[in-house]
């Protein structure tokens, strides 16, 4: 077993265990912290795949921004001590069915798909990624920015003081 495979195994176990802890642990702040661990593991996978930009973006966006917002949200809405919450919400059956179906779909694609494997390391993934975003994938890119703008405007509208 090469070091590469060992790293993959360690990261995989880390991701799975921490993801499991996120949905089973009773303390919401602990769940958020396990989520960070899970995201960090995914970033590690990207590093293994030599997609450094993706790895760094994963840390920047998911760990640095989204989890901070989640923690911020938890602390603003829950009591200070956090307290024990029921770990599974009432819709867990439907959610489980959806997630299970998605897992089956993923497994099907992974098993039957024709995967192209390249031996050469990518030249400069950042440049390629940037060019692809403004040429081939310009429509989804612009759509995503419009969605984000709409969310921003919506947040301002919700938070606005109506009495003024």
């Amino acid at each position: 077993m090469s070091a590469h495979q060992l790293a993959f195994l360690v990261l995989g176990v880390l991701i799975l265990v921490s993801a499991l802890m996120v949905v089973t642990v009773r303390n919401l702040v602990h769940a958020a912290l396990f989520l960070i661990l899970c995201f960090a593991g995914v970033a590690g996978l990207y590093v293994l795949l030599q997609a450094e930009f993706l790895a760094v973006a994963q840390v920047l966006i998911y760990i640095g921004a989204i989890t901070v917002l989640i923690l911020f949200g938890i602390m603003l809405t829950r009591k200070i001590t956090g307290g024990a919450q029921p770990p599974l919400a009432s819709h867990w059956k439907a959610a489980g069915a959806g997630a299970g179906a998605f897992l089956l779909l993923l497994l099907y694609v992974a098993m039957t798909g024709q995967w192209q494997v390249s031996d050469q390391p990518p030249m400069d993934s950042t440049t390629t990624l940037g060019l692809a975003l403004v040429t081939r994938y310009v429509l989804p890119f612009e759509l995503a920015s419009v969605v984000l703008l709409a969310a921003l405007v919506g947040a301002v509208l919700l938070a606005r003081d109506e009495t003024r």
Binding site: G64, V68, M75
Partner: protein, 438 residues
Amino acid sequence: MNLPITLTGIVEGALAPLGLQGLTPLVVYLLDALIILLLLIMPVVTILIWLLRKMLGFIQRRLGPMRVGPFGVLQTIADAVKLFHKEDLFPANADRVVFALAPFLVFVPAVLVYVVIPFGQGDGFVTKDLSVGLVYLTAVTSISAIGIITAGWSSDNKWSLLGGLRSAAQLVSYELPMTLALLGPPLMAGTLSLSGIVAAQQSVWFVVPQALGFLIYFIAALAEIAHLPFDLPEAESELVAGYNVEYSGMRFGLFFLGEFANSFTICLVATVLFLGGWHLPFLGGLPLTSWQTGLATVATMALLGGGIWYLNWRRAGWTSATRWHWLGYVSAAILAAIVLVAGLVGFISVVITLVKTSLLVFVLMWLRGTLPRVRVDQLMSFGWKALVPLGLVNFLALAFQAATGIPTGWVLNLLFFVFVGWLLLFAWRKRWAYSAVS
């Protein structure tokens, strides 16, 4: 004369007889980490804390630490020893695991940043020159917010929690203008690698066309590290000490170390991105091996050292200054000899980078000694209504220039002066807050 001694070479030479060449990269990275931690962060932080206390003393017309060692230089070490001896307290209702973990979440990112920072010219002075260095930098610095929030929450103390919440809001708000300002240098250099950005500043430092971006970055970075005037997360007079109020011993020490490492980091990043890194002013074309460059470096350092010594003499008088000033001369002479005789390329470039960084650190301490703390509403409105629009304009103008070739630098520099004028006007109107209460 460029000596071919690199860490990789030494390690490989040592491991080859044992038949362990395969481990070279791993050992080199471990050694790099140790070097950064033990030879850079610890001494720098130790010196910075002492310097800060001396500077604040100077500003407040007192001597600062004087007891331990000459001019009190060993005071920080004494404090560190004291911290190690203190009891590691846990509050009764604290979330023990999270409470124990939080200081590391603040300290480790503060150290991780140094992986990509080029201290000098050449591969020997950067641990790993990532092609996405700048994004890595922003990503890693953003992790420490989690440490601060969880520290505040796990202490089960209302002041800690308030400090943590304030810090979360502040970090999220000021990350935006900081990132917008950071977009300037890579846009002009055409690369995200920090070494590449420094290399692109050979003729003109980016602070000249990007004065606005530099100012936005510096202000936003001050808020990111919770430095005065934006130290609301740990406002002593409002929250006791904010998120770290329940911490004691070395866990508190880790927060402290992280904080000072961060203030050194933002100055280092500003140097690398905007102040030309290892390039000398007006001498960018000269090769760093030439004796002129060495002489210019030594002269600059002598000027700086002499200035600082003069200030100290003015402050403390001959009685305390004369006894130890020969130490300064001797060290300066040794340094000059090394620079001139050996002419090591990297060494000179590291010295230049560190001198520039120290000047920025001086500005930081100066601000800390002079500015009052802003209010929460002022903090938010300044971030969102002043810095974010300015950052957007700055970025859009640069992108416009890059796309069309029409120069937009004069617009940005005009904006810079308007912004500085507005800040000065604000300070003038609030001058009662800056005057000493006596």
